[in-house]
């Protein structure tokens, strides 16, 4: 039988080192680095889909939705909910944006007039020219209100839209991207990725 002193503190009677601590930190660090690469891989993964003769690559976490008149529409419903980032491809006959002769500037002007009817509180913020796959294009930045799918009693969201218009043959292709207003840098970056990965016929 062992004689036990109830008040004795239990600590090794010799001065000894504890278990090496750094291995726990290394293990957790390795797990988190692997987790970080997993996140990076998934969030940079894209899905390609054909849309009205064009091919659009979008983040794999986005889901397909429907948008009136669009050949194809996707949205980041998981991250942003009902007002998450969204993109849609429209295929419009040349005559719809250019009833008479003209160029991209006139087409853009007619497009914005049409959007004023289609979108609530639509305001053009800027219009500028660019090149998409060596073709002249025009980009329209706008602001508008997006109604909630839950109906008129829910608050609408202020959206920042970037519409890119390219003409190919007798057809105008429009890549329409929108995100909640507020983060201009992110919006521009996300839109640039979509436009750069947009393949035209």
């Amino acid at each position: 039988m062992i004689n036990a002193n109830a008040n004795a503190a239990v600590a090794p009677v010799r001065r000894e080192e504890g278990e090496p601590e750094w291995m726990v930190w290394v293990t957790v660090a390795v797990a988190l680095v692997l987790g970080f690469f997993l996140m990076w891989y998934i969030t940079n993964q894209t899905t390609a889909a054909s849309a009205g003769g064009t091919t659009l690559s979008y983040p794999a976490t986005w889901v397909q939705t429907s948008e009136s008149g669009a050949a194809f529409a996707v949205a980041d419903l998981r991250n942003g909910g009902t007002f998450g980032d969204r993109a849609a491809v429209f295929e419009l006959p040349k005559a719809e944006l250019l009833p008479r002769d003209g160029g991209l500037q006139e087409a853009a002007a007619n497009y914005t007039l049409a959007q004023q009817d289609a979108r609530v509180g639509y305001r053009v913020l800027s219009v500028h020219s660019l090149t998409v796959q060596n073709r002249d294009a025009i980009q329209i930045e706008s602001g508008y209100l997006l109604d909630s799918p839950y109906g008129g009693t829910s608050m609408p969201a202020l959206m920042h839209g970037i519409d890119t218009i390219v003409m190919s043959g007798d057809t105008f292709y429009v890549l329409s991207y929108a995100t909640r207003a507020g983060d201009v840098d992110n919006a521009t970056s996300a839109n640039d990725k979509l436009v750069n990965n947009w393949r035209l016929p």
């Binding site: 036990a4 726990v24 797990a31 987790g35 969030t43």
Partner: protein, 312 residues
């Protein structure tokens, strides 16, 4: 078993018999203490598992079957109280049974609160803001499982480990192997209580019949995962187990955390938007009950072997 090694910083009476365990040397009193069976360890945790399940069933039945509904601030307050109940059950059961030589209340409560503070200060911001796992999981089962283990599991279990390892571990009150499980469970319950409060406050109150399932499921799961890490810490305090022992404990807890969290998400889904939280409650209760039974079984066997070796 007398040691002839030079003793350094503890007074040992001349001729006193010394005992070695896992490469460490103890006096007789210390040796018996570390291998003692603490009745306040297993009982309260197993009572908590059972009582929490009964509590969840009663609340779910009362609010699920009746027309009684709380709204506004009352719903929020009821939810917050509900989030505290599992931890409160354990604390009451623990202090009721921990009479022989009670663990200091401030230590147990301190580790509980530290678990909650680490969850709100580091754990949840890291998981939800830095890694944003909620934004990129849900499409692929394998990815979901890996994320649950590598990110959620390791972050949560390391913080619970830290709440014990860098605080009470150095205390003289941490004088039994089983104390690792007690303090680990305290850290786990603190972490779970904070998660549950965030869930309730973030939703401005929840349906009590459904919310109670999540609260109890989370509390049982988090406490049992931390109990595993606590077991490894408790053994490492008194025996030299090598550099891989503690990482192994955190890794096993993290894997179990990830796998069980993943399973809890899967078993509640019935297809479409329907779900049944009762399945999650059953899984969590079985996992927690089995985990604690296995851990206490191992500890009891270790303690018996330790005492038998001393008497030989």
């Amino acid at each position: 078993m007398n040691s002839t090694d030079k003793l350094a910083d503890t007074d040992v009476a001349a001729g006193e018999r010394l005992y070695t365990l896992g490469g460490r040397t103890y006096t007789a009193a210390q040796y018996e203490r570390l291998a003692r069976e603490n009745k306040a360890a297993a009982g309260p945790l197993l009572i908590t598992v059972g009582a929490a399940v009964v509590f969840a069933a009663i609340v779910a039945l009362v609010f699920g079957l009746s027309d009684w509904r709380l709204e506004g601030n009352w719903l929020l307050v009821a939810g917050i109280v509900m989030a505290i109940v599992p931890a409160a059950i354990w604390l009451v059961a623990f202090y009721t049974q921990d009479r022989l030589e009670p663990e200091p209340k401030t230590y147990v409560l301190g580790v509980f609160l530290l678990g909650a503070v680490l969850a709100v200060g580091i754990g949840q911001p890291l998981i939800r803001n830095f890694f944003s796992v909620q934004n990129w999981t849900g499409n692929n089962l394998l990815i979901d499982l890996l994320a649950a283990i590598l990110i959620v599991g390791f972050v949560q279990e390391f913080l619970k480990y830290a709440a014990v390892r860098y605080t009470v571990f150095f205390s003289n009150e941490f004088d039994e192997r089983v104390d690792g499980i007690i303090y680990g469970a305290a850290a786990g319950l603190g972490y779970a209580t904070l998660l549950n409060m965030q869930y309730i406050v973030g939703n401005n109150g929840v349906d009590l019949a459904v919310g109670v399932m999540r609260v109890v499921t989370s509390a049982l799961a988090q406490a049992s995962f931390a109990g595993i890490t606590g077991y490894f810490i408790g053994v490492a305090k008194f025996e030299r187990k090598g550099p891989f022992w503690l990482p192994l404990g955190v890794t096993i807890a993290a894997i179990l955390n990830g796998v069980v969290s993943f399973l809890l998400g899967q078993v509640t889904r019935l297809g479409g938007l329907s779900f049944n939280p009762w399945y999650a409650l059953v899984v969590a209760a079985v996992v927690a009950g089995a985990t604690f039974l296995v851990l206490f079984g191992i500890i009891r066997r270790l303690n018996a072997a330790t005492l038998a070796a001393a008497r030989a």
